[in-house]
């Protein structure tokens, strides 16, 4: 133990034990109604995204590699006909729920909470039945655990290059599954230790299929951490705070209070948000504003556009300044593409990012008329847009806070539209609608796994 580590050990609070005990003892009535409601919205949004991403080529490649290794095929790959063992189903659902960049976001840390947690829970629920109420309690426990652990090390951990959805997500999956299967406090500490030793995922993978792999392996590895602990496989009981534990090895910043302060009264799980558009959040104000402009000036005038000027937060061009995207993934990193499709089609859903639409001549042509500049005073959730038509007339739009931001969350109705719009392309309109309704009824289901089974695509 070197000097740095020894010093760091003095006076470190036992956050692993405190968190484990809280998760183990959490009961449904301990969770305020508005927190349960947000947990339910998290679940609905996650199922829609997992089904929406189920036909993506990333899923095809993963299935090809993993299927020969599957145990008894008890668990549903959401939105597909294939079934796999719970660990592999969790892995697949974690991938598909993230692959369209359309999932939920814990805005404080840019963690996508549901992928690791819900993927693990639902896949295991198909072999270890659980009521919808208990399922939701476990989901909220897992989301709370991972968001608090993420808060502890953010932003240094993320800035260093860790994909926090993978690194913190594995703790969420372990905590949630551990709660669902009834681990005791010591087993829960072991589960968090096993999760810590599997915490991984590098931001270098952004722009490749391996990015979506991260929530998948976080789900699988977190689930297996809980199951190993249940089987008596031991681990460190202070894996988060120890000198050679997660937070000190994987971050130069640790704020232990973020993990333990106000447990049960301050709820990170209640701050979850849902993307209205299938791309990174920085680009959302521009899409929102262009869709509003299109509605206000009328679709016919879009063909008359001579130029478009965007004034945005500087991060927008830093992250999404790609001028001539050629592929789905590149389109998600081009504010020009996004604005063009939003003006032409009013679209920011996954359908706005297909390879075909990215290379559509009309979209490409309008893209060329769009200029963007940065304004350091612009809020991250704001944008100013000015459209000039060929006749010289102008239409302007100021977005103060984009849809989906903390101040302007998606309504339940908007979540439904998001759900069915993406899911019906994969499983058919009728199944999508019925599945969405079933998700909202989670708390009255005697068997939460009904949701998984109801996601099988319509024949034909």
């Amino acid at each position: 133990m070197n000097a740095h580590h020894q010093e760091a050990d003095l006076g470190t609070p036992a956050v692993t034990a405190t968190l484990a005990e809280w998760v183990v003892n959490l009961q449904a009535p301990d969770i305020p109604a508005e927190v349960r409601r947000e947990g339910l919205r998290t679940f609905v949004n996650w199922v829609g995204c997992a089904v929406g991403g189920a036909a993506h080529e990333t899923a095809e490649h993963a299935l090809k590699a993993f299927t020969p290794f599957s145990g008894s095929k008890t668990s549903t790959v959401l939105g597909r006909r294939e079934r796999l063992d719970p660990a592999h189903a969790a892995l697949m659902n974690g991938i598909t729920s993230h692959v369209l960049d359309y999932d939920d976001t814990h805005l404080k840390t840019i963690l996508h909470p549901a992928g690791p947690v819900a993927s693990a829970l639902l896949a295991l629920a198909e072999t270890r039945p659980v009521s919808g109420t208990d399922f939701l309690t476990a989901l909220i426990a897992g989301v709370e655990a991972e968001c608090r652990i993420a808060n502890c090390v953010y932003p240094d951990h993320y800035d260093r290059g860790w994909h926090i959805t993978g690194t913190a997500g594995v703790f969420g999956a372990a905590a949630a599954v551990g709660r669902m299967i009834g681990l005791d406090a010591q087993q829960m500490r072991w589960a968090l230790g096993l999760a810590a030793s599997q915490s991984s995922g590098l931001r270098e993978m952004f722009g490749t299929m391996t990015k979506s792999f991260h929530p998948g392996i976080a789900a699988r590895n977190g689930m297996m951490s809980a199951l190993l602990a249940e089987a008596g496989f031991d681990s460190s009981e202070r894996a988060i705070e120890a000198p050679r534990g997660f937070a000190q090895v994987m971050s130069d910043k640790q704020d232990w209070d973020e993990i333990t302060e106000g447990l049960g009264t301050r709820w990170e799980a209640a701050t979850n948000s849902y993307k209205p558009f299938a791309c990174g959040i920085v680009i959302h104000p521009a899409i929102d504003g262009c869709i509003q402009l299109r509605e206000e000036m009328g679709e016919a005038k879009v063909a008359q556009i001579a130029s478009v000027r965007l004034r945005t937060h500087p991060l927008v061009l830093e992250l999404t300044g790609r001028k001539s995207p050629k592929t789905e993934l590149e389109g998600k990193f081009s504010v020009y593409h996004c604005a063009s499709v939003a003006l032409l089609h009013g679209d920011g859903a996954p359908t706005a990012f297909t390879d075909a639409i990215v290379n559509d001549p009309q979209v490409v042509a309008l893209r060329g008329l769009i200029e963007a500049e940065t304004n350091p005073d612009c809020h991250e959730a704001s944008v100013d847009i000015e459209v000039t038509l060929r006749d010289g007339s102008t239409h302007a739009k100021h977005v103060e806070r984009a849809i989906g931001s903390a101040e302007k969350p998606l309504t339940d109705a908007q979540l439904n539209t998001k759900f069915t719009d993406q899911a019906e392309l994969v499983v058919g309109a009728e199944t999508a609608r019925a599945l969405c309704d079933l998700c909202w009824s989670l708390e009255i289901l005697s068997d939460a796994a009904e949701v998984a089974r109801a996601s099988t695509p319509e024949k034909g």
Copy 2:
């Protein structure tokens, strides 16, 4: 990308691509005879350790959790009757080969190279047949890759708290399996990228079952990285050197030349070493010296000992200064226990570390007569021992370099004894001897997996 990352990106050599190309193109005749011989010794030692650890309770707990998730049971859990799919068999063999702290050591980085690499290769070889020669080539490629990647980031990476056998080992497994199944260069880069995103394992887990879990998951995850790449699942192609890649995120020190310089001429795989005793290396000189003293002064005089004084390298007491161990694991961290058992029984094998022997009254009594002091001038592989008998006579021993050190490697005959001594307790004497012989004949086997199947325990 922050300033640090941007700066770090300038002029970074493409080490991932260089290493991938080397691994893909490596052929058996490119490997000098003495390197192949050391690879064979690595393999023999690894099989002995995996069989020797197969009955450990850590394996029982892991099997209990993982067996329900196994796919087609094609692959052998070495030294046991159970079979699992290749991924789970790799995981189990990685665990058992490390659980007795008896495996191989790359002395420069304290990496244990064979666990991740050989565990992945042999388990997969049972479903994708490969000749012994090709198997050995892949094994050496994987060991070379992981040791070079470890060199690149050692010591900062290890000092920070990473268990390098897990974090670097996953690359070795990916490279070896990728070589064995014939990935092309791009697929190999992807495989290394997928490995980078699964690189994990914290030193906090030392002293728990999760320590042995690290080579197990490195084996499984590395294998699946190669199989995913084969199935078209893409990843970063510069995962080791990128600003947000493995080496820059997980270490503050990077020496790129360690990865690429002298590939094919300077062989890290030829520097592998094998433990004569089932515990950490720092304690080996004391055990070696005590066994020699026992032989020189005669077993009868051990009962006459009044006091023992050890003068050791300072690390010995820092790491293994435990005075009153109570368990197997604590015994491994007590130089007093080790010296006592070595004097009484001439033993440093796994049999010297059972819970029973750690609590044996005779062993405990002699332990109380042993004093240790540190000598800053003492070499890590040296020790001075002075025994005083009740009649006042003394016996002294200076160990210049302990057995198993770089200067005094185990002979083939000593490897055989190590193999059969530990394996016969698990699979029976006859099977142990036959299996050991079969391992040495690896290069003439048309099917390397014969070795796995020959490890099944005798009936009875």
